[in-house]
Every structure is written in structure tokens, then in C-alpha cells.
């Protein structure tokens, strides 16, 4: 299994006291599988995705990725692990405002010690249709363009796992559709496992499996039938 969660719970300290976000979640994701996480707002789907990426630490239970126990790693070990194995895309893109598009994409490659980081970053931007905007800063680009840079940054190190948190949430329908095509295209090209948080049923339907969360618990799991896949 590429991702394996056993009895994972997450509680966070809020202003009004401890809030339980996730309760005893157990699930596994196979290699090259695409999984859509759906559910109403506040159901815990983004938190679950963050746990899978080691961006949040589980209160209890075990999170394993590619056979490594993420709960046993410290912040730096997690960062190093993500370098080679994971790419994350956020709803608000989260590009570094002081870096150009090219520099944003090259950063994870540099951190991974890739020698031709900038050439590869340029190629990756080309692949998302932004070869002509490498020198632009995020503030000089539209939301759709920024998300394409974010996609290129996530995909550039050829990660085993792609995690996407509502990647079209801040975009119009047409731009969102184009971004999803790109995301699925990248996944197909590189053969990565994709876990996607979305409110869009249409998007969820493009995944091999859909997991629905309600109040921090697994509610329902749906596998796409062979016919639908075709």
C-alpha cells in the first residue's frame, strides 16, 4: 500500500477548547490509485489529507506512507520525506510571493539536490502551458495561472503521491476544469497516486474511489465501476 492509516484520530486546541476533528479513521490507498475525499464543509477531509502528507500530526493512530511511519518522524524528517515522494496542491495555490514562477517550481528540485533543477522546472512550466511566464511573480499572474504553477511545482520532483486540497475551489468553472485536466494528465504521465479533496461530484467521479466523510468519520466508500471508467 502507498498510504495506510490505522485508527487515526485528530484533536486540535481551539479558542473554545479541544475540538475533535477526526475519529478512528482507517483506510488504505494502493499504488497509482486515484482517491476523491468528499463530504460537507467541516467534515475533516482537508485535515485527513494533511495527515497523509505529514503536514499535520495525528493525535493517535498510525499514518504510513510508502512503508514509512510518518507519526514517528520529526518535522525535518517529514520535510525530507516529502521532497522525494510527495507533491501537494492547495486551494489558494500558496506560491512564495517573493519568487518568480520558475523559482517557485525549481525550489523542491533544488531541495532534493537535483542538478538541472532550473531546466526541469522550465520544462515543467512548459508542460502546464506557462513556458512564456517563467520570470513573472505570483502577484503578476491570474488565479488559474498561479494554480498551474502550483501544479508544476507539485509534479516537478516526480512524486509517488500527489495530494490536492480543493485545487479548483478558488477558480471559475472553465479554469477549474482545465486545471483538473492538467492534474489528471500529470498523474497519468508520471503514474503517481492521487488523493484529492473536492466538493465537486463531477471531479470525484473521475477518481477510482470516492471516500465520503461526515463529522470526522468515514461514512461511505464508493468504487468506480469498470463501465464508468470507460
Amino acid at each position: 500500500m502507498v498510504l495506510s492509516l490505522r485508527d487515526v484520530s485528530l484533536s486540535l486546541q481551539g479558542n473554545a477548547g479541544v475540538v475533535d476533528i477526526l475519529h478512528d479513521i482507517s483506510l488504505e490507498v494502493a499504488a497509482k490509485e486515484t482517491v476523491g475525499l468528499v463530504g460537507p464543509s467541516g467534515s475533516g477531509k482537508s485535515s485527513l489529507l494533511m495527515l497523509m502528507g505529514g503536514l499535520e500530526r495525528a493525535t493517535s493512530g498510525a499514518v504510513e506512507a510508502l512503508g514509512h511511519d510518518l507519526t514517528a518522524m520529526d518535522e525535518d524528517a517529514l520535510a525530507r520525506f516529502r521532497r522525494g515522494h510527495m507533491g501537494v496542491v492547495f486551494q489558494s495555490f500558496h506560491l512564495i510571493p517573493t519568487m518568480t514562477a520558475l523559482e517557485n517550481v525549481a525550489t523542491p528540485l533544488e531541495l532534493a539536490g537535483v542538478a538541472d533543477a532550473f531546466d526541469r522546472a522550465a520544462a515543467e512550466l512548459d508542460a502546464v502551458g506557462l513556458g512564456h511566464r517563467t520570470g513573472h511573480y505570483p502577484a503578476q499572474m491570474s488565479g488559474g495561472e498561479q494554480q498551474r504553477v502550483a501544479l508544476a511545482r507539485a509534479a516537478a520532483p516526480r512524486p509517488d503521491i500527489l495530494l490536492a486540497d480543493e485545487p479548483t475551489g478558488n477558480l471559475d468553472q472553465a479554469t477549474g476544469a482545465a486545471i483538473m485536466d492538467l492534474l489528471f494528465g500529470l498523474r497519468d504521465r508520471h503514474g503517481a497516486t492521487l488523493v484529492l479533496v473536492t466538493h465537486s461530484q463531477e471531479l470525484a467521479d473521475r477518481c477510482d474511489r470516492t471516500i465520503r466523510l461526515v463529522d470526522g468519520r468515514l461514512d461511505r466508500e464508493t468504487r468506480r465501476t469498470a463501465e464508468a471508467a470507460e
Binding site: 499535520e56 520535510a79 521532497r83 501537494v88 489558494s92 512564495i96 531541495l111
Partner: protein, 841 residues
């Protein structure tokens, strides 16, 4: 004017949000205003104290002083007719524990007084006996420092010249000490009668006689003016100097005024540094308010209404900051009162004085206006449409012309008022120009660092080194803190570097230049009949490398080429001058014009004059100078000019007559002895043992005194510069704090794409160090320029770049930004990426 009322209502509602986010703004303004208010309050307290206590400090209503002689019987009778008169002698001498070469000796400043002393105030002594009793017979009162130095106590014997005296008390407070000026040794107080026949006040010796007058209690200042004019006419040409209760301690007053004004200028630099923080705070505030401004425009508010609304808000906040500064400015001097009072020889009543507070408030308000006008003017340029687009802060570019004009007027008013109020307009203009130039250079430097960083980030050097490239990207990229940090720290460090350069140069001048050329001792008051014995002793000593000696006597310049002396405004024509005579050209003397008289010349008197002073007075070869030498008029023709270097510490006379002209006049000899340090003690014992009236001034001690005075000056200035740097550091903290949100976000993204905390921390550190180094480099250049300006233009001293203090400044700057940066790195490093990044979704 409804738009103004509307603006006021909007401002009121906005201010309900409290002072959050404005602490740096308030701190910057309060610190600058407090520094200026405190310095001004102390200055005014001292000058008011001097005015109020003038009579006590002077020891009378008026004082007439002569050098090297007592007033003649007629002169004394005239002065005594004006009011109650008291006669005082003031001179340096050697106080000894006994006679002969076994005795210990120390230099002392002797005040020999009559029965009427002090006319005003009281001398405090321990034990608490009456002054008359303490000075009766052979009684002498000494300063505790002198008693300590010689290991003496009350009841022990003390020798002055050939006279044995008995210490009857230790001096606790001398009422007229503030008016006495600079002394080379601790005070000894004795009655003139006790010194009669001690061989200390012989004709031609170096002493001053002061005649203090107590006038009727109803003597007004106008009456004093009239009296002064009368006295000056009556005593014209006698070398008499007049002082009265209104300028009782001119040296102290001048010093306090100078240092006070100088510190106010340093304070202005501090305000400019604070202004950078004020500007950054207002900019950040208005950026946060962009949606509010856009919304107000959407609902119909005009640009001027919005500008006025925010100007009012900032005005209220500036008012609070200034008020805080004024409160601090009043409290600091009161808290430091015991320390300040202990440092001054005059009474000070530290209290609340309105004028310096108004001055500080004016500077504070103008600074706040200057530094906030630009960002405020930009509020007019925020478009309602920015609500519907990705608002990335207010518009860039220049504000409208009327705001630029207002800005220029505010700058001119600030510079003009500082020039006018400081009392040193020239220095104030230099300082303002310096601050403006430094700001311009720093803005340029910040821009340069950003461009360079952007370029470097794209070179091969940075590629593959993410920590470095991240840092370069952050410095060079948009929305960075580069400008605020380089400006605030750079200006603070520039002031510190300038003070460092000036201080180091002055110290170096003393440490490096003087001891090499300066003699070990000045021996003064050598009577003509003692000269031979004296020379035998010193010239025969193998440890002595050189002995110079010259006759010396006092003379008053009466006229130069027919023009009366009073028409020249020059130190040479004021009061008594020490003059000399010689037959042959003294060794090492360089003639720069004319010719020295032939050996054995016995014709009409000739004068050789110092070239520099001759140039200043416009004296030419062939001009006649008439001098009053101890009551006798001597007219001489200037026949040569000489080069005289007073800084070498050797013997130098502005005027030298040919020997025959003055040989018969009463005179003493002055000698400089260059000896090995180990031999100095024995030479002093031998010379003083033979001739107790000869006073030895150890040059090393005199240099130590000057160094001490310089240290006090440097300390005061360092406090001023320290306040500026503290403001700079507050701005730096503000910039670091303002950048923290950005860094937390950045660190979270970087962690997400695989950066370790080490990499992120290294990147933050490189970024801080880069900005600190840039500020430091500009500070070195600015400090060197300011140091050069002050030394060469104001002090007329040579300037040499002092690398040690400069390097310390750059390292300090880099370290300060590094620490501020790292202090605010903890949160970004500790933050969990998920929480930060999701919070922004």
C-alpha cells in the same frame, strides 16, 4: 466642509479598533521626542540655573581680572570705589609634604584670598569650622583629592613655595568653582597674607588676580551695562577682563549649549530613524485598510475625505506618541538628576521647562507628518475596483503634486526650525543635509541590494543552494522588508559610526601624535637667578634628551599698525598675552617671511610674529605693534614671520621681541624638558627641592585631563547615538515582526515542498545578514563622511579613517539584524504547515 466632518466621523469609528499594530509607531515617535525633550530640558535647567545663580557662581556682581600682575594701587582704589571689593589670586603651584628632595609633590590650583572672600555664598569645609578660623595664620584648606594624593590629613603640614602651612580643613564645596574654569590640579585655599614672601607671586610669574565687586542690591542689569562701559574706558589697555553675574560661568555655559545643541541634532537623527518605523507602520496599516478604503469609495467617499480621515487617525496616534515622549522626556532628567548634578560644577535645578518640550513636540509632529504623508496620499489612489480584484496593497507611484508640495514644506519647516532653535544653524544645516543625504543613499542602497539580490538569485552561484537563493529571492523579491531594514538600521548605524569616527580620531590624535613630540614637563615661574641651577640639573641628566627654554612675560597689545586692539576680534588682542624675547633664532624655528634680526641687535624694537595669527589679523611686514608690558609701552616693528605649531606641545610664542627691547623687564623663564618616563620623578624632586616656587606641569597628567574631558564628551554623545540606535532597533524589531506573518507562511510552504528547518533558518539568517551588512557598509561610508565633515570643517583637525570602530559598526549592524531576524524565526520554524496554509484558504 461637510467632507471634513464626515472624515472625522470615519476616523472616530476606525479608531475604536484600538492601538493594536501601532506599538512600533508609538515607540518610534515617543523615543525620538523623549530624547530631544530630555536633552533640551537638561540644557535649559543648566542655563537657567547659571542665570539664577550667576551671582553665587561668580562670587559677586562683577569681576575684573588681570593676568600675571596685581592691579596697581590706583586701579585697586578705583575698583574699591565702585562697591565692596575682594581680591583673589589664582595660580598653579606645587604642593609639597616638606622641603628638599625627599618631599612628595603634587600640582595644585591655589586660590589665595583676602578676609572678604567669599563676597557671596559660603565655602563648605570639614570639619565644620568658620572660614576665618580655617584660614587664620598659616592655615590652609585643601581639596580631599590633593590630601589623598599626598597622604596628608587635617593637622599635617603642607608646603607651598617656601612657606610651611598647616592643613586646617578639607574643602567640600567652593561656591565660585563653576566660574573658575579649567584647572590642572585640585584646589588649595589659603589667605593671601599667609603666602606673602613665599616666592610664588613674583613679578612675571604666571598668576591671575581677580577683583570681585559686590554692588548695591538694587543694581539692575542696565546699571551693570553702564558700569561695564565705564570700567572698560577707565581700564582700557591694561589687559583687564570684565565678567559679571550674567555670564558667570561662560565656559560651562558654552560647553552645555554646544553639547546640548549637538545632542539635539543627534536626537533629530534619531527621529529620522524613528520616522522610517513610523512610515513602515502607517504603510502596513493602510495596506490592511485597502479593502475598507475601497469599500468607502464604493459607497461614495471622495479621495480627500478618505485622506483626511486617515490623516486624522494618524494625527491622533502621533499625538499620543508625542505625549508619551514628552512624559518620558520630563521623567528621564528627573530620574537622572543626582547623576547629572554630580557631573556639573554649577548648581542645577532640574525641572519641567515648557520651551524644550514644545521644541521636541514640534520636531515630533513634523517628523510624523513627513514620514506619513506619502503613504497617506496614496489612499487617494486606491480604486474601488480593487475590492473585486486581488488587492495587493495600495497603488504605487508618486502622490499628487499638492501632497508633494506639502511634504517639501514640512521638510523645510523642520530643517528651518532645527537651524533656528538649536542656536548652531550652520551645524544644524550640515546635519540636516547629512541626514537627507544619508536617507537618499540608504534608499539607493536598499534598491541596489534588491536588484543585486534578484540578479544573484538567478546566477549559477545561487542555483543548487536553496537557502542562499531563498534569501536572495526574499531580499530582492516584491513586498520585502529590505527598504525598511536598510533605512532604519543604516541611519542608526551611520550616526553611531560618525560618533565613533570622531571619537576615535580625537583619541588617536592624543594617543598617537602627542606623546611622540610632547615634552615630559613644562616648568614655569623659573626666576632668572634660578635658571642656571635649573639648567645644570636637567641638561646634565643622561635621561633628558632635550631641554628648551625661553623667557616669558605678560604684555597687552595696544594697537596694530595704528588700529586700536579693541577693534580686532581675535584672541591675540584680548587681555594679557605671554610674550618672549630672543637674540638668536631659537633652534628648530622656521622663518616664513622677512628676516630675523642680527645677533646682538640693539636698535629700535623688532618683533617676529607667528605666521598664522599674523594672517588672521592682517599684519604685514613693517607694521608696528604697540604693547603694554607691565605698565611700559613698547612699540616694535614686525620684521619676520615664523611657523608656530601649538599642537606639538612645545614652547610657542605668537610674539617674540628682540632681546634688547625687553631684557630689562621683569620676567620668568619657561622650560620644556623631554625626558625618559622613568627619570621624570627624580627630575621633579630635584628641581622642586632646589626651587620650591617652580611649578612643574606633567604633560602626561594634562593629557589625561584632556582625555578625561573628552571621554565625558564621548560618553554624552554615545548616549545620544545610543538612543538613535535603540530607535533603529525598535524599527528593526517592527520590520521583523511585520515580516513574521510572511515568514511563517513561507516556512510552511517550504516545509511542504521538502525544506528542513535548518535550510529555512539558514535562509532567514543569510537574509538578515545581507540586509545588516548593506546597512553597515552604508553606515561606514556615511560615518566616514560625517566624521570627515565634523573634524575638518567644524574642528579644523585632520581626519583619518579609523577602521576598527568602523568594522565594529558593520559587524554590530549585521549581528543586530541577525538577532532580530532570528528572534522572529522561532514561530515560522515551529509552525505546523497544515494550520498555516489552511488558515489562508
Amino acid at each position: 466642509m461637510t467632507w471634513l466632518a464626515q472624515a472625522a466621523r470615519i476616523a472616530g469609528r476606525e479608531l475604536r479598533g484600538g492601538l493594536g499594530g501601532f506599538y512600533i509607531f508609538l515607540a518610534c515617535l515617543a523615543l525620538g521626542v523623549a530624547a530631544i525633550a530630555a536633552v533640551g530640558s537638561v540644557r535649559v535647567s543648566i542655563t537657567e540655573g547659571l542665570e539664577r545663580e550667576g551671582r553665587n557662581i561668580l562670587g559677586g556682581d562683577a569681576e575684573i581680572e588681570w593676568d600675571f600682575r596685581r592691579g596697581s594701587e590706583a586701579e585697586r582704589a578705583y575698583l574699591a570705589s565702585l562697591g565692596t571689593m575682594s581680591e583673589i589670586y589664582d595660580f598653579r603651584s606645587m604642593a609639597a609634604t616638606g622641603e628638599g628632595i625627599e618631599a612628595d609633590r603634587a600640582l595644585t590650583q591655589v586660590k589665595a584670598v583676602d578676609d572678604l572672600y567669599p563676597l557671596v555664598g559660603a565655602v563648605e569645609i570639614a570639619p565644620d569650622i568658620s572660614l576665618d578660623k580655617a584660614l587664620a595664620g598659616n592655615g590652609v584648606i585643601v581639596h580631599p583629592v590633593l590630601a589623598d594624593r599626598l597622604g596628608l590629613e587635617v593637622g599635617d603640614a603642607l608646603w607651598l613655595g617656601t612657606r610651611e602651612l598647616t592643613i586646617t580643613a578639607l574643602l567640600q564645596r567652593e561656591p565660585d568653582a563653576g566660574g573658575d574654569g579649567f584647572g590642572l590640579g585640585p584646589r588649595t585655599l589659603v589667605s593671601s597674607a599667609a603666602l606673602a614672601g613665599a616666592g610664588l607671586l613674583a613679578e612675571g610669574s604666571l598668576f591671575e588676580t581677580k577683583y570681585r565687586l559686590l554692588l548695591p542690591p538694587d543694581t539692575t542689569d542696565e546699571a551693570l551695562d553702564v558700569l561695564r562701559a565705564q570700567v572698560e574706558v577707565e581700564l582700557e589697555g591694561t589687559g583687564a577682563r570684565w565678567r559679571d553675574r550674567r555670564n558667570a560661568a561662560p565656559q560651562v555655559e558654552r560647553f552645555v549649549k554646544r553639547i546640548g545643541s549637538f545632542l539635539v541634532l543627534v536626537g533629530l537623527a534619531g527621529l529620522a530613524v524613528g520616522g522610517v518605523g513610523v512610515s513602515a507602520a502607517v504603510r502596513a496599516y493602510l495596506e490592511r485598510k485597502t479593502p475598507v478604503i475601497a469599500t468607502l469609495k464604493t459607497v461614495g467617499a471622495e479621495g480627500r475625505t478618505i485622506f483626511a480621515a486617515y490623516l486624522m487617525q494618524i494625527g491622533v496616534l502621533a499625538g499620543i506618541g508625542i505625549l508619551l515622549g514628552l512624559i518620558l522626556g520630563v521623567l528621564i532628567p528627573l530620574a537622572a538628576a543626582p547623576f547629572i548634578e554630580a557631573q556639573l560644577p554649577v548648581p542645577v535645578a532640574l525641572g519641567v521647562h515648557p520651551f524644550p518640550l514644545v521644541e521636541a513636540a514640534l520636531y515630533g509632529a513634523l517628523t510624523a507628518l513627513i514620514f506619513t504623508l506619502w503613504p497617506l496620499a496614496r489612499t487617494e489612489q486606491v480604486r474601488a475596483a480593487s475590492l473585486f480584484r486581488d488587492a495587493s496593497g495600495p497603488a504605487r507611484g508618486f502622490p499628487r503634486k499638492r501632497y508633494m508640495a506639502a511634504l517639501a514644506v514640512a521638510v523645510l519647516v523642520l530643517i528651518g526650525s532645527s537651524a533656528w532653535l538649536s542656536g548652531i544653524p550652520e551645524l544644524a544645516l550640515y546635519a540636516s543635509g547629512g541626514i537627507l543625504a544619508a536617507l537618499a543613499v540608504l534608499i539607493g542602497a536598499a534598491w541596489g541590494v534588491r536588484v543585486l539580490s534578484r540578479r544573484l538569485a538567478r546566477t549559477r552561484l545561487a542555483r543548487g543552494n536553496p537557502a542562499l537563493r531563498l534569501a536572495l529571492g526574499a531580499v530582492g523579491g516584491p513586498g520585502g522588508e529590505a527598504t525598511a531594514v536598510v533605512l532604519s538600521l543604516g541611519l542608526g548605524l551611520t550616526v553611531l559610526a560618525a560618533v565613533g569616527q570622531i571619537d576615535a580620531n580625537m583619541r588617536a590624535a592624543i594617543d598617537r601624535d602627542l606623546p611622540e613630540v610632547a615634552p615630559s614637563y613644562f616648568f614655569v615661574d623659573i626666576q632668572p637667578n634660578q635658571l642656571e641651577t635649573f639648567l645644570d640639573r636637567v641638561q646634565g641628566d643622561p635621561a633628558v634628551s632635550r631641554v628648551d627654554y625661553a623667557p616669558m612675560l605678560g604684555g597687552v597689545v595696544q594697537s596694530i599698525d595704528g588700529t586700536p586692539a579693541r577693534e580686532f576680534d581675535h584672541w591675540v588682542t584680548r587681555g594679557d598675552r605671554r610674550i618672549s624675547f630672543a637674540d638668536t633664532l631659537p633652534p628648530g624655528t622656521r622663518i616664513t617671511g622677512g628676516e630675523w634680526w642680527p645677533e646682538g641687535y640693539d636698535g629700535p624694537p623688532q618683533i617676529s610674529m607667528a605666521q598664522e595669527e599674523a594672517d588672521e589679523l592682517g599684519v604685514e611686514l613693517g607694521d608696528e605693534i604697540v604693547m603694554n608690558v607691565l605698565g611700559r609701552e613698547v612699540a616694535g616693528t614686525v620684521t619676520s614671520f615664523r611657523e608656530v605649531d601649538f599642537s606639538s606641545g612645545g614652547i610657542g610664542f605668537v610674539l617674540i621681541f628682540n632681546e634688547a627691547a625687553l631684557r630689562g623687564a621683569p620676567h620668568t623663564w619657561l622650560s620644556t624638558v623631554y625626558a625618559e618616563q622613568e627619570a621624570e620623578g627624580q627630575i621633579l624632586r630635584d628641581v622642586a627641592g632646589d626651587a620650591p616656587n617652580i611649578t612643574a606641569i606633567r604633560v602626561r597628567d594634562a593629557i589625561d585631563l584632556v582625555t578625561e574631558a573628552l571621554s565625558a564628551l564621548a560618553a554624552a554623545t554615545s548616549w545620544g547615538a545610543g538612543a538613535t540606535l535603540l530607535t533603529g532597533f525598535v524599527v528593526l524589531i517592527g520590520a521583523a515582526a511585520a515580516g513574521e506573518r510572511g515568514r511563517v507562511f513561507e516556512a510552511s510552504v517550504l516545509k511542504t515542498v521538502g525544506a528542513t528547518r535548518g535550510t529555512i533558518l539558514t535562509s532567514f539568517a543569510i537574509r538578515s545578514a545581507l540586509l545588516g551588512a548593506a546597512a553597515g557598509v552604508v553606515a561606514i561610508l556615511g560615518g566616514a563622511a560625517a566624521g570627515w565633515g565634523v573634524l575638518t570643517l567644524v574642528m579644523e583637525a585632520p581626519y583619518a579613517f579609523e577602521p576598527v570602530s568602523a568594522l565594529a559598526i558593520v559587524l554590530g549592524g549585521a549581528l543586530a539584524t541577525l538577532l532580530a531576524g532570528l528572534a522572529f524565526a522561532w514561530r515560522p520554524l515551529a509552525a505546523r504547515p497544515a494550520r498555516i496554509l489552511r488558515a489562508q484558504d
